[in-house]
């Protein structure tokens, strides 16, 4: 996050918040999207214990587009893993698979470096992401 040996000033620091599945489960789909968008617009990077479903993701993209203000908010960076394939028994029992961990942040800060099946590698680069 800063050049080697150069400390970030307090006002330059970036919050990275881990949001529990319990908190996410309390929200309706709309409330969840509003919460995420508000936090990201405030410059926070969120790591969601339960990610978003594909329909929630497209809803988030749509609402993000409406909120873009060209000099202050250019959109979001979002990476996560989808639902795991349910096992035979889980299918029979009707267990709903939730999407796995997702990281979301403002596109001007958060930059995805690499993503594969095991790791999502991101960097927070103030003023240089996106």
């Amino acid at each position: 996050m800063g050049k080697k040996g150069k400390k970030l000033k307090n006002e330059d620091s970036i919050a990275v918040n881990l949001v529990s599945r319990q908190k996410l489960d309390e929200f309706t789909a709309d409330e969840k999207i509003k919460f995420i968008l508000k936090e990201v617009q405030n410059g926070k990077v969120l790591v969601l214990e339960h990610g978003l479903t594909a329909l929630e993701q497209s809803d988030l993209i749509e609402k993000t587009m409406k909120e873009i203000k060209q000099d202050t908010f250019i959109g979001i960076e979002m990476e996560g893993y989808g639902e795991e394939k349910p096992s035979f028994f889980k299918k029979i029992l009707g267990v709903i698979q939730k999407p796995r961990m997702t990281v979301i942040g403002p596109a001007h800060l958060l930059k995805t470096i690499n993503k594969d099946n095991n790791m999502i590698e991101t960097k927070i680069i103030p003023g240089k992401g996106g």
């Binding site: 789909a29 479903t53 594909a54 329909l55 993701q57 497209s58 993209i61 749509e62 993000t64 587009m65 409406k66 873009i68 060209q70 250019i74 959109g75 979001i76 960076e77 979002m78 990476e79 996560g80 989808g82 596109a107 001007h108 995805t112 993503k115 594969d116 996106g130």
Partner: protein, 219 residues
């Protein structure tokens, strides 16, 4: 009434008499060659053009429709209404247009504003199509969130999807990587620019989109 308002008499009669007709959307992230592919399909079957192409992202900022396009392959045919959609992305930065493509500030801001509206239109139009031709750039990493989000949406809606692994004319292309990344969907390598392997694409489109499938409503 809505049915009669939205469809031409010709296409309605086709449905009555059992000929296949489908609304096919061409989707994907910006700059993967959606409009180039739409132009290729139209050139091959109607002799027309869908839209202009550019190396600058978000060249297509409004969905464009072409109705009643008939494609044929090995004695089978499919009538389609084709929509070429704006690229879907999670961010639009006007400074990218200035810094990378030397646009002036006002032009870049206008393009960015229209691009955001285009993304919204693309997402909303998913509710109005019967099948998706998802275009991916076979020279790039397939695991982008936009690709995953679009595919997840189509699976949730139970929409048939055919992945066009585009740009195989380029040396760095790797359609095999796309096939490995999305084994649950048919992947057809193609060069929309040169037309290479387009017959294979048309064959897949007829068999894949010709089937009737019940779709799920959004949410």
């Amino acid at each position: 009434m809505g049915l009669f308002r939205r469809r031409s008499l010709k296409s309605f009669l086709r449905r009555i008499f059992g000929k296949k007709q489908a609304k096919i959307g061409i989707y994907g992230p910006p700059n993967v060659g959606k409009t180039t592919l739409a132009n290729r399909i139209l050139q091959d079957w109607t002799g027309e053009q869908m839209g202009s192409v550019s190396e600058v992202p978000h060249e297509t900022r409004m969905a464009a429709w072409e109705n009643d396009v008939k494609i044929e392959n090995n004695g089978s045919s499919l009538y389609m209404d084709i929509v070429d959609t704006p690229g879907i992305s999670t961010k639009v930065d006007f400074k990218e247009f200035i810094n990378k493509f030397k646009m002036d500030k006002d032009e870049a801001k206008q393009r960015a504003k229209e691009a955001t509206e285009g993304v919204i239109e693309s997402i909303r139009s998913l509710d109005d199509v019967d099948g998706i031709l998802l275009v991916m750039d076979s020279t790039r990493d397939p695991f982008t969130q936009v690709n995953v989000t679009i595919l997840g949406n189509l699976e949730a809606r139970n929409l048939p999807v055919l992945i066009a692994a585009n740009k195989i004319d380029q040396k760095t292309s790797s359609p095999a990587t796309l096939k490995a990344a999305f084994p649950q969907h048919p992947v057809v390598p193609i060069s929309a620019l040169t037309g290479y392997n387009s017959d294979d694409l048309y064959s897949h489109m007829i068999t894949h989109f010709g089937k009737k499938k019940s779709r799920k409503k959004r949410r």
